[in-house]
């Protein structure tokens, strides 16, 4: 059985600086897979390489059986791989509903329709409404994105990703900047995603990681330090030393 998403020898260098070195990682279908590591370990770079936001210096990315290295971002999204951003990358002047409807329309392939108004695109509007209801953003449907409180913007980040109906969902620190109570709620939404969606997430909050991850990969200095189940990682001395030890001290 081929993995839902895997890389082969994926590397990225910026001049002399090796952000990602020879990464060969596999994410199994339906996984709840966490990617952790200290700051600067290259986690976001890795996501950028997976999604096509950055071109690799070497190596390949495979989505299912298909080699997607070299495909532009939007093409990979069309094939089922979607990401969210660590820093909110939304549409400030669009309302919440408009944003999600836009994503739904693009997924449907109706982003080029110019001869009827958006208000008549009932399929996309209904779908957007359902996603907003699931994330409890339905009350804010008409609010411009820039007027939303930060926590709701983070939820909108995920709503946009869900509207693309991904088979592989890459979440870059979805709970960044959110207080603990709200972040648990946010992760509940993620946990309720069906098993045909593979979820890979970067997180720094170890409580969240150990609550939701079924598998953990530890990235340090651009390379994989170790990979395993949460118990294995929690008891791994190297991980303790490099990462968990730092977290405990501050």
């Amino acid at each position: 059985m081929s993995a839902a998403l895997r890389t082969q020898g994926l590397s990225k260098s910026f001049g002399d600086f090796k952000a990602n070195s020879d990464l060969s990682v596999a994410f199994e279908a339906g996984a709840r897979h966490a990617l952790i590591g200290p700051n600067g370990a290259g986690k976001t770079t890795f996501i950028n390489l997976l999604t096509g936001a950055l071109a690799p210096t070497a190596g390949d990315v495979y989505l299912g059986d298909e080699r997607v290295t070299g495909l532009p971002q939007y093409a990979r999204v069309k094939r089922g791989m979607t990401r969210t951003f660590q820093i909110n990358t939304l549409f400030p002047g669009l309302s919440v509903l408009e944003s999600v409807v836009l994503a739904a329309l693009e997924r449907e392939g109706r982003g080029g329709v110019w001869w009827r108004t958006v208000s008549r695109e009932s399929a996309a509007i209904d779908e957007a409404g359902q996603i907003l209801a699931r994330l409890r953003l339905d009350r804010d449907a008409d609010t411009p994105t820039r007027a939303l409180p930060y926590g709701k913007q983070r939820l909108l980040e995920i709503a946009l990703a869900l509207a693309t109906r991904p088979t592989v969902l890459l979440l870059d620190e979805p709970a960044a900047g959110i207080p603990a109570a709200e972040s648990a709620e946010l992760f509940q939404v993620i946990a309720q995603l069906p098993r045909d969606v593979t979820v890979v997430f970067i997180e720094h909050d170890m409580n969240l990681v150990f609550s939701f991850a079924e598998r953990i990969t530890v990235l340090v200095g651009g390379s994989v330090l170790v990979e395993g189940s949460p118990e294995e990682i929690a008891h791994d001395a190297r991980v303790r030393e490099v990462y968990l030890g730092e977290a405990q001290h501050g």
Partner: protein, 318 residues
Amino acid sequence: MTRLPTLAWSKAEIAFWLVPVAAYFLFPHYLTLGSQVMIAGLFALSLDLILGYARIISLGHAAFFGLGAYTAGLLAKHGFGEPLSGLVLAAIVAAAAGWLTSFLIVRGHDLTRLMVTLGIGLMLFETANQWSSLTGGIDGLSGVEMKKIFGVYGFGLDGRTAYVYTLVVLFLIFNAARVLVRSPFGLSLKGIREGERRMPAIGASVWRKLVAVYTVGAGIAGVAGALLAQTTQFVGIDVFGFQRSADLMIMLVLGGTGYLYGALIGAAVFMILQDYLANLNPVYWQFWLGFLLVFLVLFARGGIVGALATLHRRWTRK
């Protein structure tokens, strides 16, 4: 509950479109000016799609206007004076040129876009200048003989046919544009404006949409140019000039970018003011035009429609 726009016409819009109809009856001696205003409005509309909605900086939009004008003019001069087919062919030629150049435009950043659009405008000007056997060069293209529309309505000296013809074409194209900006495609343009980085992440190809809107804008500019050639029966080389591109931008900014109606209002105000003032003293006109632009950018970026919209918001908030 949703605020997604529909195609419903507001009272203000209906009132707006009654004005040119009324003008036909009220100002029968100003119909030629009226046609010029509407042609400028259509031209400004085409730029609004590119500059107001897609935020592509273009300093050479006159290139497509000129291509449309010379296409229609040359067709008529050489015996193919049927007006509607002239319009269609002009649109095709201009749109094709827009499509070809769009690949340079969407690749580059703002400075490149400036350069390429400016350069193409200048190159076409030079071509028209050099190839005077075809275009009439500096003297312009005359001998543009128009046949009757539908075989019935001839272009007479009173300008009545030209006026109605221009008004109908403008209204039809405006309507198409009005739907476009409220359509899924229009929403995606707004998405590019508001969050270009997120667009690829929701599966949208930004460059493909920009190519599409640039091509459409070029085609509409071509129609405007063709209308000019057909209604004045002449094509001057200034259709390609930088002054025309610059005046166009001023019209659009004056009226307000991104409203569609801003293009029409700005064109009307500009053309009427120009008719009064420019002939009095061209140096003063140029100075105050520059000053207007500086003022608008610093203090009234939304133009006339923007200012009206702000007032409306303040009023309805009370």
